[in-house]
């Protein structure tokens, strides 16, 4: 049975969820899933901020693990440096080393999406599809409504 973390953009009425295997998800991975699920990867004008839904404390460290079944609030705010938003960093695969012994296991269906990212282009020059840098909506994240 997959685990979930529930998220809501602060202006949104309804919650959505990110599902994963394991007991928690890192803030980094959660941001990546949210960016992919909402197809925001192309925009360079914003940064995402994640807050605990109850305490309103920001998760400042991307390596923090959010336990499964938690609820978080997300804000899309202007990038601190205009035009230098960090969205692409989250989806390019440049994940920092996670200080946890429990890596987040992706479910099988999402793995191809991950490997079809910008990285694979370097190894296969023939794959010129522009859509290859914009993965399709990640099937493991879906709206709860």
């Amino acid at each position: 049975m997959a685990s979930s973390v529930f998220y809501k953009f602060s202006s949104q009425k309804n919650e959505s969820r990110v599902t994963f295997d394991g007991t928690g998800i890192s803030v980094f991975d959660l941001k990546r899933e949210i960016i992919l699920a909402n197809n925001m990867g192309k925009a360079n004008d914003f940064d995402l901020y994640v807050y605990d839904a109850a305490t309103k404390q920001e998760y400042k460290d991307d390596s923090t693990i959010i336990p499964r079944s938690s609820s978080v609030v997300v804000k899309r705010l202007p990038a601190s440096r205009p035009g230098r938003g960090k969205a692409s960093m989250y989806i390019s695969g440049a994940a920092p080393a996670l200080p946890t012994s429990e890596p987040v296991q992706r479910s099988g269906s999402s793995a191809p999406t991950w490997h079809k990212g910008a990285m694979s282009k370097r190894f296969d020059g023939k794959e010129e599809m522009p859509s290859s840098s914009i993965p399709p909506m990640n099937p493991i994240t879906k709206s709860s409504t």
Binding site: F9, S11, K13, N39, M40, R76, P82, M137
Partner: protein, 471 residues
């Protein structure tokens, strides 16, 4: 929030950028939002203004200036997907804006739901439309005790208004996009009869002053004619509504005067526009004297004699592209995807063809990138296409240029001027130019250029007496 005698102006969009206009005004516990647009260079959630920065249930009213997507298209998301309806907020726009907004949004939902970008469903759109209160120009509307406003004509497009807002006695004029030049079908923007405390004004063209109407029109028609003579096709990427009607009026008249062109078709490729033509005909009484008098003589100016609609069949782009010389007005104006993009890709390799950019091109779109006349570009399919088609820019977009904007700003005589809806460099130059003009005349006027979410707090001395604006 700032203290009660302070007006806070927060841009959720269009702060030092063009696109996703959304301006939040807070004064004495009241909250008003002017415009709810999307950013045409982005898609999905990322195209919305920075709406997470506001609790939408606390909003008293949303006023939408005109039907363009960069001013109106985020409205459905805000009314249906945020907690806006938990509050008492009302939504206002003029009758023609509401009529066209409906068609614009149907088209927006249809084109964005084909990808994973759909922000809302057709049902959401209907719910949102039902909550819009239509108003008329010059009507005094009381939103709730302490907030009232009057819409004034803004030129620009059919139904476009500026809003003269009164919050607890403080008067703010929000222009939206506006034009001070009478074109072929619209009246020019009005100068409101009273002096507001704050003017929030568009600055799309910064310090650029355009050529005269006559020069522009003759340059345009001459160019179109010469492309046809050299055996080429003319592509005019333009939004289905607004400027398209203006260009059609110009072309129809030119064709009438040039019988040698009568066998050269002018295509208007927009199902959306066909639907909206009825709205244009309904609101002829809001247009200028030229249009009204022609209509009175039973010469309906929106029944074009030399313009044909494209066939409604799939693949018409290819058929027309392979055919003899012609002129095509196709949307969207920025050529991101859709008919204009398809025709562009088909015609780009042939030097006989000509592309004329007739509107303001937003940063990050193909229409903007192509102005540098690159040797080649990447097609939607990812292949490289050589560009030999000629590229010209003749702007008919109904925005004020520097001469008109600076004159209007001076005539309004507000103590604070907030520049919005402009790119940061152009806006910076406009601010410097206005500051030196006011300095020369020894007038103390403050010019502000807030970025998105950089809240501007303006304090006003003395009690404002809350009273109705207007006469």
């Amino acid at each position: 929030m700032a203290d009660s005698a302070t007006l806070s102006v927060t841009m959720l969009g269009a702060g030092q950028e063009v696109g996703r206009s959304c301006c939040v005004l807070q004064y004495r516990g009241k909250i008003l939002v002017c415009d709810t647009g999307v950013h045409p260079a982005f898609s999905g959630m990322a195209s919305l203004p920075f709406i997470d920065a506001l609790d939408w249930s606390t909003v008293d009213a949303i006023l939408v200036t005109h039907f363009h997507l960069d001013h109106a298209a985020a409205l459905t998301y805000i009314t249906e997907k945020t907690n806006f309806k938990d509050g008492k907020g009302k939504v206002y726009m003029t009758h023609p804006t509401k009529a066209v907004h409906k068609f614009m949004m149907q088209d927006f939902v249809r084109t964005s739901s084909s990808s994973s970008d759909a922000l809302f469903s057709p049902l959401d759109m209907q719910m949102s439309l039902a909550s819009i209160i239509p108003v008329s120009a010059h009507q005094l509307i009381t939103v709730c005790p302490g907030i009232s406003f009057i819409p004034y004509h803004a030129g620009h497009v059919l139904g476009a208004c500026m809003f003269l807002i009164d919050i607890a006695g403080l008067k703010i004029l929000y222009t939206g996009d506006y034009s001070r030049e009478e074109d072929r079908h619209l009246v020019k923007a009005e100068l409101p009869p009273i002096r507001p405390d704050v003017l929030i004004v568009e600055s799309t063209y910064g310090v650029h002053t355009g050529e005269s109407r006559e020069e522009k029109e003759s340059r345009f028609t001459t160019l179109v004619h010469s492309i046809i003579r050299r055996g080429g096709h003319v592509l005019l990427p333009t939004f289905a509504l607004g400027m398209a009607q203006e260009l059609l009026l110009i072309l129809d008249e030119y064709w009438k005067k040039h019988p040698d062109l009568h066998n050269v078709p002018v295509y208007y490729a927009s199902g959306l526009a066909r639907k909206c033509m009825a709205v244009y005909q309904t609101y002829i009484h809001t247009m200028n004297a030229n249009i009204r008098s022609r209509f009175a003589k039973r010469d309906n100016p929106f029944v074009f004699k030399h313009i044909s609609n494209v066939p409604q069949t799939r693949g018409w782009e290819k058929k027309i592209a392979d055919g003899p010389p012609c002129v095509v007005l196709a949307s969207p104006g920025f050529m991101q995807v859709g008919p204009s993009r398809e025709l562009f890709e088909l015609w780009a390799p042939d030097a006989r063809n000509g592309l004329i950019i007739t509107g303001y091109s937003i940063e990050g779109t193909l229409a903007r990138d192509i102005m540098t006349e690159p040797e080649e570009f990447t097609s939607l399919k990812g292949t490289t296409i050589p560009r030999r088609i000629s590229v010209d820019e003749i702007s008919f977009s109904a925005h004020v240029d520097y001469a008109q904007n600076s004159e209007f700003i001076e005539q309004v005589k507000a103590q604070h001027v907030v520049l919005v809806h402009g790119e940061s460099t152009g806006m910076g130059r406009l601010r410097a130019a206005m500051q030196s003009r006011f300095k020369e005349r020894d007038e103390d006027v403050k010019i502000h250029t807030p970025r998105n979410l950089e809240t501007l707090n303006l304090s006003f001395r003395g009690e404002r007496v809350a009273k109705a604006i207007g006469t």
